[in-house]
């Protein structure tokens, strides 16, 4: 996965989102070892301190953990990953509904429209 960073939002937040997405989508599997902070920073072309901050946040949230001398790993707690996946999905849906309501659609209309679009795509 390439690192696409917007220029108008805090970088470390975007790094966190990138990791979350990589974990949820299975790019990183439970128990996978992460590259070093320095390598990750070089790959994302960001400051190592910023990368460090993002990883510290993820660690606090429990998504990654540090093995004293050998580095950082992705959590092996699959229920936590599922939970994260759900939360991210809910966020996306909320955002989408918000946009639809700005277009003047009620929730019912949105759901109906989604169903019909989905059927068209299947055909």
């Amino acid at each position: 996965m390439t690192w696409e960073l917007d220029s108008d939002r805090p970088i470390y937040k975007q790094l966190i989102e990138h990791f979350q997405l990589s974990i949820v989508s299975g790019c990183y599997k439970p128990g996978d070892k992460l590259p070093s902070v320095r390598d990750l920073a070089a790959e994302a072309a960001v400051n190592p301190n910023t990368m460090q901050k993002a990883l510290a946040d993820l660690e606090q949230a429990g998504l990654v953990y540090t093995q004293r001398t050998s580095g950082r790993y992705i959590t092996e707690d699959k229920s936590m990953v599922e939970q994260l996946k759900n939360n991210l999905a809910i966020e996306q849906i909320k955002e989408f509904l918000e946009k639809m309501s700005r277009l003047g659609f009620t929730k019912q209309e949105t759901v109906a429209l989604m169903t019909s679009v989905k059927e068209e795509n299947v055909q």
Partner: protein
């Protein structure tokens, strides 16, 4: 430990005209700091003061707790805005000179970087384009294991691909306790790798802080903030 760079009520005037006035500033170790400002704002003056190339009119500037001098020059690696190397020299001669001159110069690092950027060490400076010359200079500066790197407009003349490589070089090569101070107006290119920014105009600091804090506060990029502050 002393901060790597400290300015106390620092002022510099050139025949009565203030280039810097009452600058108070502390730069800590292990940071990549952007020194941003429009033309003529005092960026180069501040960097020259830190190198001891010029002396303050008022106040003081300290590197690692000391006034600029022989001791501080050992730990400061400086990329000037203009070259001081002789045109007839070959890159390998300059590397030899630097190895001789600076205890902390690592020739292996320099050759590695030259190779990555496809620069032949047998070439003479005068046969090189402006951009290539700039790359050579930056390679020399970054090949020293210094505590403070002062880079005055390091990426102005190089193409975007080489710019990416150079920025990458800066973030991978500096050691964790070293600080890199980059003066530039190519903000969009560097802001992603900066910890902190210092914005100066007319010789005064108008804004300073961490990139992420400023982005959160203003909801826009440093580049956009800069354009807003200095709209002409």
């Amino acid at each position: 430990m002393n901060p790597i760079l400290e300015c106390r009520a620092l002022g510099k005037s050139y025949s009565g005209k203030d280039a810097l006035c009452d600058v108070n500033l502390t730069v800590n170790r292990g940071r990549i700091v952007g020194l941003l400002g429009p033309n003529g704002s005092g960026k180069s003056t501040l960097i020259k003061l830190a190198n001891g190339l010029i002396t303050p009119t008022k106040g003081e500037i300290l590197i690692n707790g000391q006034q600029p001098g022989t001791e501080t020059k050992k730990i400061v690696s400086y990329l000037p805005e203009r070259t001081y190397l002789s045109d007839w020299m070959r890159v390998k001669d300059i590397i030899e000179l630097f190895t001789d001159f600076y205890e902390n110069f690592n020739p292996k690092k320099a050759y590695d970087m030259l190779q990555k950027l496809n620069i032949n060490a047998d070439d003479r400076l005068k046969t090189m384009s402006k951009g290539t010359k700039e790359k050579v200079q930056l390679i020399l500066v970054m090949s020293r294991e210094a505590d403070l790197y002062l880079l005055d407009e390091p990426i102005g003349g190089v193409d975007p691909a080489a710019r990416d490589y150079i920025i990458n070089t800066i973030i991978t090569n500096y050691n964790e306790n070293a600080t890199v101070l980059i003066s530039t107006h190519l903000i969009a290119d560097v802001e992603q790798v900066l910890d902190d920014v210092i914005i100066i105009s007319n010789g005064c600091i108008t804004m300073k802080g961490s990139v992420d804090e400023l982005r959160t506060q203003y909801g826009k990029s440093i580049d956009a903030i800069f354009r807003e502050v200095f709209r002409c």
